[in-house]
């Protein structure tokens, strides 16, 4: 090899190394939701168009609008996501991320992107997965299996109320579900940003869905990055459904649970012990 050629090879090799070191994260990921396959390369311009203003070009929640937002946008570099079907601490599935993009998050700046085509959304999911190396070293957890929901009964609701007391849900969400428990004002998320517990009295949709199944999933998987833990190790499925049925009575909605509860309270209300530090929850 001639000296000139060797120099060219050496310079080229150094250049390649420098490029690799300084290059942004590789976005060769794919995502799969049902029959749809998402490609990060196609998701990148969509992410820039729709997401980067808040989540930042590098997915680090440093978009130009982030400083004005409460709560702050998700930092994708940590690969920590609230809404999952997978156990606490594990990565979400592509479907979980897809659902989050479609649904948006109530009481935040994250709107529902349901008007975008499913292909656009799955492409964006593929791109979002490129912001953290964790997606290349770990697999999403096994999605939670949600058992068939039993019909709500007054016994189920009362047991759920007892669990609300015993599991100390009231400390954050408040005795009446107003989000005003004694710990409510001290809560912070994993980035030490203040965070407020859900206020059931608003009747608004939950952070991660609207159905009883969604509510069941929320407290069996927890909301990673927030103070809301997973109760998968503390609650049996039947108990979790009891808790779901009671929580529904705290919302000002026309639900089966609320109807059963109102009828029972109209005749047995005086038998109830208060919820809270002095209460028995039954």
């Amino acid at each position: 090899m001639k000296p000139q050629t060797r120099w060219m090879w050496l310079v080229s090799a150094c250049g390649a190394v420098l490029l690799l070191l300084g290059a942004p994260p590789a976005h060769g990921q794919e995502a799969r939701v049902g029959k749809l396959a998402g490609r990060a390369a196609k998701g990148k311009p969509l992410y820039t168009r729709y997401c980067a203003g808040c989540h930042g070009d590098d997915g680090d929640a440093q978009g130009e609008n982030a400083q004005w937002m409460d709560p702050r946008p998700r930092d994708f570099t940590t690969a920590t996501f609230k809404c999952r079907s997978t156990p606490s601490g594990s990565l979400p599935t592509d479907q979980d991320l897809f659902n989050s993009v479609e649904r948006g998050f109530v009481t935040t700046n994250m709107p529902p992107w349901i008007a975008l085509t499913p292909q656009n959304r799955v492409d964006m999911v593929a791109y979002i997965k490129g912001f953290s190396a964790r997606w290349r070293t770990a697999q999403p957890g096994t999605p939670l299996t949600i058992p068939l929901e039993p019909a709500p009964t007054i016994q189920s609701i009362l047991h759920g109320r007892e669990l609300y007391q015993r599991m100390e849900c009231w400390k954050c969400h408040g005795p009446a579900g107003y989000g005003d428990g004694p710990s409510a004002h001290e809560l912070t998320d994993s980035k030490d940003e203040p965070i407020r517990p859900y206020n059931f009295s608003t009747g608004s949709r939950f952070m991660c869905g609207t159905t009883n199944q969604d509510l069941y999933r929320i407290f069996m998987t927890g909301l990673d990055g927030s103070p809301m833990p997973s109760f998968a190790d503390q609650l049996k499925p039947a108990e979790a459904w009891d808790l779901v049925h009671f929580l529904r009575t705290m919302q000002p909605l026309k639900t089966r649970e609320a109807a059963i509860w109102r009828e029972w309270v109209s005749t047995h209300g005086r038998e109830l012990k208060p919820i809270g530090p002095e209460g028995g929850g039954q």
Binding site: R49, Y50, E64, V106, T108, N109, I114, A115, T117
Partner: protein, 458 residues
Amino acid sequence: MVKRFLRAAAPMATMLCAAMVPNPTGTAARTYAAGYATYATAIPAFARKYGLRCSACHTVWPELNAFGQRFKDYGYQLGNDRDSPIWQANSYWPIAVRTTPQVHFENTTHQPIDPPPSERTITQAGFDLSGIDFLMLGTLYKDISFGLVPTLDPDGTAGVEAAFVRFDNLGHSPWANLKIGKFELDNLLGEKRITFLSNNGGFYYAYHFQPAGSVDNYTFGLGDNQIGAELSGHSINSYTRYSVSLLSTGDGEAGLSGANSLDAMVTLSHAFATGSGLGPQRIGVFGYLGHRPTAFDSAGGEPIPGTGSANKQFIRVGATAQIWLGNLELLPMVSHASDDAALGGSTQEPAWNTAMLEAHYIASPRLLVQGRYEMLRMSKQADPATPKTFGDADAIAVGVRAYPFMFSRAGMAIHGEFAMTKTTGMAPLSGNGSGLDAYDPATKIWSRSLMLGFDFAF
């Protein structure tokens, strides 16, 4: 920008008087259309309110994308329980301002000059201003929205482009929304969000053409904002949409018209989430049934406002689509129009058809390359003696819009455009504003616009 039509200042009686006077050349009607309409909506106030970039709601502003359409359909609400103004900082003010300083060149052939039958090509060029739009839109409360768009013409003439209140999600259903006031019709191809701005490119012939002979008071533009009430609805993702409007017959001019009747418009569209383009594929249809009076009671020879009778109808029907092939957006439209013979000022019902294809290549949210071809063909003239091709038009426009920055506080586009129309006998709807027909009805009149504008909103 806003309509620069002098009729706005004319007394109603004068307008009504003109109703009974056929206009053999249709010049007045065309003068109305000439020079209106580069006003469009792009509202940084929403971006500030929600912290989203312009590109979230616009393919390239001012054109809406599917997300922006849904946002508009929900009454400028995202649906995150933070839409009511009570959630905004006290300092938030829902206003945006848009204008377009520009330099442009206009050229129209075969313009009559003295002495008859002399003709010449008239050319004008220089620096100019568009009007100014003050875009105030938002929510008064959750599920109660409003729009107020005062405008200023370059000469200082003020107007009201839009003023409405909208009750959203009636019965908690997206299928029922009621809007009352002056508003943009629910056209799939919204002229208020058109990305062509020049005198020859900033409008659709399908929306504004009126044939030779139209009576003077019969003014109508499908692209004009109208006054009335609109019931509209949409699916959760706004892929299926409809609207039904009942409108006053004054073509958007305030004041009770003399027709004692109402116009009606219906639109219906559906989108399919197929392909991997920037948005869903949408098809839609529209229909407009209008009425105008042709007789009035009079006092002292002057028509009495409110006594209009012998209403005669006109119709506009058409189909549109929005097709995505990757970043290429195709916007075809076909339409058919006809007027009652009395509105045409003669013995036959004039009728005409249009076909159009507009293409946008959206290289990125910051670069648009676009082109359009539209043709209009008369199928029947009001006056059998008028040559059948009189009024036929072919319009071509090409352009580029480059956006030097893209964020959620303001927007600017460097706008370059060339537009050219060829009309038969009849002066083009726009052009240099002279608006005169050629002496020979078979003459092909060419009108050209070349424009470099700086379109900004904040």
